[in-house]
């Protein structure tokens, strides 16, 4: 609900602002780009993106496909959720499969087992195969400091690469989405949202998210001070003993390296309250992949990562 009426001086909350801005950006990339797609992981940010996109084009259906880069390292709950949402909205789903790409020798499994890096070539190939010249994503600037510098319309060259020193100035709400053949745009309508905004919006709108975002009991073990779930992708090593804890996930990325946090939050409003009180970022709390180096994200983005 919008908390705006004529009598209260046309108040527009921060969520109203962010929602309106995101709808504007989504419409803008769709108007300016011939063949956009929306990256959907089943995570909370991409769920909010899909919700906003549906609003932006209502009562028409979404004028673009949804793209999932499937690492094969998914939480089961998230995949089931993806299929249900896609069916309910009646949108076209394109899946780029990392396991298939490994099997055919297009990419090679890394010794660490992490598929974070090798999903980039799969993403680029999937976009190319389907002729997608713009990809919308739910990345936020508060997530990571390289992202804090990235434009809302982020230009990528014919190799999908981001050049942080050569970004197009972005003024007012005048986005420049022009490209030559082979080039593309990554578009980030949630740039100005924070993790807290996302949860407050999920609570306000009553948006459904995968159950693992809420507190539940799970068999876990500890590694590097983080709680990892025991599943087929992620097994305890020698000396790591398992136990049952009440946890939830702050992010739902690669199941091999996404950790859970201790939590009692069972609703979106509970999660928002917990996030507001948290003193650690979601990536710092739960991602093994960004700790590798100070510039890990910047380096991956230069290769074409989201």
């Amino acid at each position: 609900m919008m908390d705006a009426t004529a009598s209260d001086g046309h108040r527009f909350s921060q969520l109203d602002h962010l929602e309106s801005e995101a709808m504007f950006i989504i419409r803008e990339i769709v108007a300016e780009n011939e063949s956009p797609g929306l990256l959907f992981s089943g995570g909370k940010d991409s769920i909010v993106m899909l919700h906003l996109a549906a609003k932006a084009f209502a009562p028409a259906s979404l004028p673009f496909p949804v793209v999932h880069i499937d690492t094969g390292h998914n939480f089961d709950e998230v995949l089931l959720f993806r299929d249900r949402v896609v069916e309910a909205l009646g949108v076209r789903l394109i899946v780029g499969s990392v396991p298939e790409a490994i099997e055919e020798g297009f990419v090679r499994e890394e010794p660490s087992g992490s598929r974070n890096r090798i999903q980039t070539p799969v993403l680029l190939r999937t976009a190319e195969q389907h002729g997608l010249t713009a990809l919308m994503g739910g990345a936020r600037r508060d997530e990571e400091k390289a992202r804090a510098k990235e434009r809302v319309f982020s230009f990528r060259d014919e190799f999908g690469q981001w050049d942080p020193k050569n970004q197009r100035p972005e003024l007012w709400s005048l986005y420049n989405g022009r490209i030559h053949a082979g080039e593309s745009i990554r578009c980030f309508p949630l740039s100005n949202w924070t993790e807290l905004d996302i949860w407050e919006y999920i609570a306000r709108e009553g948006i459904e998210v995968p159950s693992i975002y809420y507190a539940h009991e799970r068999e876990v073990f500890q590694r590097n001070g983080m709680y990892f779930a025991v599943n087929r992708h992620c097994l305890p090593r020698d000396g790591e003993h398992t136990f049952t804890e009440t946890v939830r996930y702050r992010t739902v990325g690669d199941a091999t390296l996404t950790a859970a946090v201790l939590s009692q939050a069972r609703t979106a409003a509970d999660v928002a309250a917990e996030v507001a009180a948290s003193r650690i970022t979601e990536r710092g709390a739960t991602r093994g992949d960004d700790k590798v180096s100070e510039a890990a994200m910047e380096d991956r983005k230069k290769e074409g990562y989201f």
Partner: protein
């Protein structure tokens, strides 16, 4: 809770990073893992203090060179407001980044080192903030601890600024004596300057009244996208976009520009369904009573209050590309949701943004220069003066060969 977007202008020497670090730290918006990372990097470099600039300098090149190259966006909230900081570099070679940061700001903080007074770069920052018509300005006179909290020093700098600002165009200027390092008057009132009766900076940021900055008078609705469902709702034809100014209600008489066709609003749909009234900056979908021809780039307005359709644009342009703008040059121009082509007819003068001196007929504008130009466009644009409307008064220029955004313009009154 609403949003305040503010830009900070100043360089590392002025204490800008320290100020932002303090705002974030004192509002508990720096996370422990971020602080750990910064402390680790500072220690590796052998610094004997924690360099809070590392929090905002996100790119490898910035960390290596110890400079801020690009605008960084930072977020924090207090119980009253959400804040978006556009942290912009202050040196002259980054004028375009400052212009970028200021373009969306509700408020700009101009930082001044109390020991140095109003320097050339402070004048430049003030000029840009004025040109971009940032509605609220805070002149933060920093490092008061290093001038013994002297009221005389503060008053003298304030007076010099007021004198300089008289040549510019500010609606609202607030002056504050602060010390970002010690935190005096940043989040809490200073105990060292009882001669200062005003609020601390954070209090000002939380309370400055911005709702009235919106223009609720001039109805300007640039059509962004035409929604025509294929799924069995063939009669539906909605015009989607963001209402940039004015109020719209079902039943209002409207005019579609540039065609000039009249109609009436049938319904207005927002994210929350149909509404009786829309106001800026809502993203809405408007349906009209009549089957009029409307497409992206058109504007819906009111018969008695319309923007001016014109192919001749007078503007102040900030040039952002290494290849200079020249008289006779042709560019793509994007104004609201309309894109046309523009020919540079004349460059009347280049403004020296340090001194406000005008160099007449320079022939070209180089990177980071600001000048007064006249453009001729291939199609009429539906414009208002920038001082009346930031959205319908601004445009960007795009090089059609490289697709780079090369210039930003604010439309002046003829």
């Amino acid at each position: 809770m609403d949003i305040l977007r503010f830009a900070t202008a100043g360089s590392v020497d002025d204490g800008k990073s320290t100020l932002i670090g303090r705002l974030l730290y004192d509002s508990k918006s720096i996370f422990t893992d971020q602080l750990d990372a910064v402390e680790r990097t500072s220690a590796q470099r052998g610094d004997d203090y924690t360099d809070l600039a590392l929090l905002t300098d996100g790119l490898r090149a910035e960390r290596e060179q110890g400079i801020t190259i690009d605008v960084a966006y930072r977020y924090f909230s207090t119980p009253r407001r959400k804040f978006i900081i556009a942290d912009t570099p202050g040196h002259i070679q980054y004028t375009r980044n400052m212009v970028t940061g200021a373009s969306t700001a509700d408020l700009a903080i101009i930082l001044i080192d109390a020991r140095k007074g109003l320097l050339e770069q402070s004048r430049r920052h003030a000029t840009i903030v004025s040109l971009l018509r940032v509605p609220h300005v805070v002149l933060a006179i920093n490092k008061m601890d290093l001038v013994d909290w002297s009221q005389d020093v503060y008053e003298e700098i304030s007076a010099t600024f007021v004198e300089f600002a008289a040549k510019l165009d500010f609606a609202d200027v607030t002056t504050l004596p602060i010390s970002a390092l010690t935190g005096d008057n940043v989040v809490t009132r200073s105990a060292h300057m009882d001669w200062y009766q005003g609020p601390a900076l954070m209090h000002h940021l939380e309370h400055v009244y911005i709702a009235s900055d919106r223009n609720l008078v001039d109805v300007r609705f640039p059509v962004q996208y035409v929604i025509r469902p294929q799924n069995g709702r063939g009669d539906f034809r909605g015009f989607a976009g963001q209402l940039v100014s004015g109020m719209m209600r079902p039943g209002d008489d409207v005019i579609v520009l540039p065609s000039g066709l009249p109609s009436r609003i049938k319904t207005i749909q927002t994210s929350a369904g149909e509404v009786d009234e829309a106001f800026p900056p809502m993203s809405i979908t408007v349906r009209l009573e009549d089957e009029v021809d409307v497409s992206r780039g058109d504007m819906i307005s009111r018969p008695a209050n319309q923007p001016e359709p014109t192919q001749d644009i007078d503007a102040m342009v900030c040039w952002m590309d290494a290849a200079p703008m020249r008289v006779g040059g042709k560019y793509a121009i994007k104004h609201t949701t309309r894109t046309a082509r523009a020919l540079v007819k004349d460059i009347a003068y280049e403004l020296d943004i340090n001194t406000l001196h005008r160099e007449l007929s320079p022939g070209s504008l180089g990177l980071n220069s600001i000048g007064r130009v006249t453009l001729r466009t291939t199609q009429p644009l539906l414009v208002d003066p920038y001082r009346r409307n930031r959205q319908t008064g601004s445009f960007i220029l795009i090089d059609e060969a490289t697709n780079r955004t090369v210039g930003a313009g604010v439309i002046t009154e003829n």
